[in-house]
């Protein structure tokens, strides 16, 4: 940063003896994953000042949720981070369950862990794939897209009914139980499709001279700066800070599984890539253990205040019919209060702050997006570097516009 101040002071030493050029890396640009805007002041190829701007995908999640019931908010949540929608669903219902004071069943916890870890793997695959496309290595994108398609077609679609925007969890449990043969198919895909794909991309990239030159030392950040700016997730762990909510704030029974948390050293783009690759391998470990330990039992809490009654009962007796009617028309009755609940999403800490006034719908829901501090820290990561480095850093930081703009 000191060089930039020096540049500005000795204005006559600029490369072209002229004013710095302002380049608009606009909202419709292939490398910005659409809807992000960066305004760069350049001196030649060096970035002097970077101003990020967003809001091009603001879809008013908070205002919509104020006019919906508690269960109707769930489809809005899975459009937040749309590459790993199941994690947003899990985070939201965990926050509401914390407010209601209910404990879910053990089988529900295991299934939630399974879907979270699968979503983490596919999120990291999109991040690394698109980052490499921006740098110029298109093959990795195709190598990672095949496991994603397999997970979508054979795991998520039989489970939830749709590939991308799932709305699978419910307050107090899940929509329905795992279909037959899902466990074997999951094991099969993890071993025979995901592991070779990670190995292929690893062989292509990790010792690749061009990749190392493009990413090592690019967009580095110190641990102290990362904490001050609010970074969380793989970008913070790449900088050397061992913060992982799965270990620090035990939720969903993560202490039952044996896994490691990879920590980087420099905080540059290469470290972010390495941390994500290693996290995918650790997620595979968790999935194997969860599949082995999966217990039998109910998936929903046995409490008619939160769970819809069985459809056969609704058709036969009047109390179940009234219960069903109240659930659908008024929504789940949640006590008055406010709560903040955070989970470790693929990108960092995804927090939900919920204020309830006892009605059938929320009074306010605020989502703490993991991408917002990351995008805010872009000037710090990129100023002083070159335009090509900006593209490499933007891809590695994994900004998902859906959760950034909400």
């Amino acid at each position: 940063m000191a060089e930039i101040e020096a540049y500005r002071r000795e204005a006559g030493k600029l490369d072209m003896q002229a004013e710095p050029m302002i380049l608009n890396i606009g909202p419709s640009h292939p490398a910005t994953h659409a809807t992000l805007r960066l305004i760069a002041e350049l001196d030649g190829e060096t970035i002097l000042k970077l101003t990020p701007e967003f809001g091009y995908l603001h879809r008013c999640f908070e205002k919509e949720s104020e006019n919906a019931t508690w269960t109707q908010v769930i489809p809005y949540t899975d459009r937040l981070n749309y590459v790993s929608s199941l994690m947003n669903n899990v985070g939201y219902v965990m926050a509401v369950e914390k407010l209601c004071g209910i404990e879910v069943t053990e089988r529900c916890e295991y299934i939630r862990v399974l879907i979270c870890e699968l979503s983490r793997i596919i999120d990291h695959m999109v991040c690394i794939g698109t980052n490499m496309v921006d740098i110029g290595a298109l093959t990795n994108f195709w190598y990672f897209w095949k496991p994603r398609e397999e997970v979508y077609m054979h795991l998520i679609e039989p489970l939830t009914g749709i590939r991308l925007t799932t709305a699978y969890t419910r307050i107090g449990g899940l929509m329905w139980d795992l279909p037959d043969g899902w466990v074997e198919k999951c094991r099969d895909i993890c071993r025979n499709v995901i592991v070779p794909a990670i190995a292929d991309v690893n062989a292509l990239l990790t010792k690749n001279r061009i990749f190392i030159e493009r990413t090592m030392g690019v967009g580095a950040i110190t641990p102290k700066e990362a904490i001050a700016r609010g970074f969380t997730g793989p970008c913070l762990r790449a900088a050397g800070v061992p913060l992982d909510l799965r270990k620090d704030e035990l939720y969903l029974g993560y202490d039952r599984f044996d896994f490691d948390v990879p920590i980087g050293e420099e905080g540059d783009t290469c470290d972010r890539y390495m941390v994500r690759m290693e996290e995918m391998r650790q997620s595979l470990r968790i999935i194997e253990q969860a599949l082995d330990q999966l217990p039998e039992g109910p998936i929903n809490v046995d409490d008619p205040r939160f769970i819809l009654p069985r459809k056969a009962d609704v058709y036969e007796n009047i109390e179940a019919l009234m219960n069903h009617f109240k659930h659908v028309m008024d929504g789940v009755q949640v006590p008055v209060g406010e709560v903040y609940s955070a989970t470790e999403a693929a990108n960092g800490e995804l927090g939900y702050y919920i204020v309830s006034k006892g009605a059938g719908g929320p009074y306010k829901i605020k989502v703490r997006p993991p991408s917002l501090p990351l995008f805010q820290g872009m000037p710090h990561l990129c100023e002083g570097g070159m335009i090509a480095d900006l593209i490499a850093v933007l891809g590695s930081v994994n900004i998902i516009a859906g959760e950034l703009d909400r």
């Binding site: 909202p27 659409a34 809807t35 995908l57 879809r59 205002k63 999109v126 994603r148 925007t165």
Partner: protein, 165 residues
Amino acid sequence: MTREKDGAPGFLTTRFEALLAWGRKYSIWPFTFATACCGIEVMGAFGTHYDIARFGAEVIRFSPRQADMLLVAGTVNYKMAPVLQRIYDQMLEPKWVVAMGACASSGGFYNNYSVVQGIDKFMPVDIYIPGCPPIPEQIIDAIVLIQKMIETGEPRARDRWPIKI
């Protein structure tokens, strides 16, 4: 290329136009304006499983000056609409617009102060793809429908825009 006495195109003109149509329909170059979740399904359609290259539409051009088809995938809000309008204006004739997904067709389930209730509020749309998000096979269906439109010479939405009621 002569015309008959009653103004109808002659034999050679129709053969030439058929040749042009054949060339155009098998080389539609899309400009994917992917903003949100539908963008991920667009990437899936261009992937290896739902290969769209079989239909000739694999050459994605990220510059509007070089593209034929504008594929708007995702929610467009009031902040983004001027950007989309400008991109549409920069594209050269002939061009086709596909509104992919519920948000681009009609605002989706977002009826609020920030989301444009369908891009046909400010630009002519030829094909609407329903779904939230639509599966990649529906994108392939849209490409095939555009190919049929080119082949039969059907008037595009732009030719009857703006719709006056």
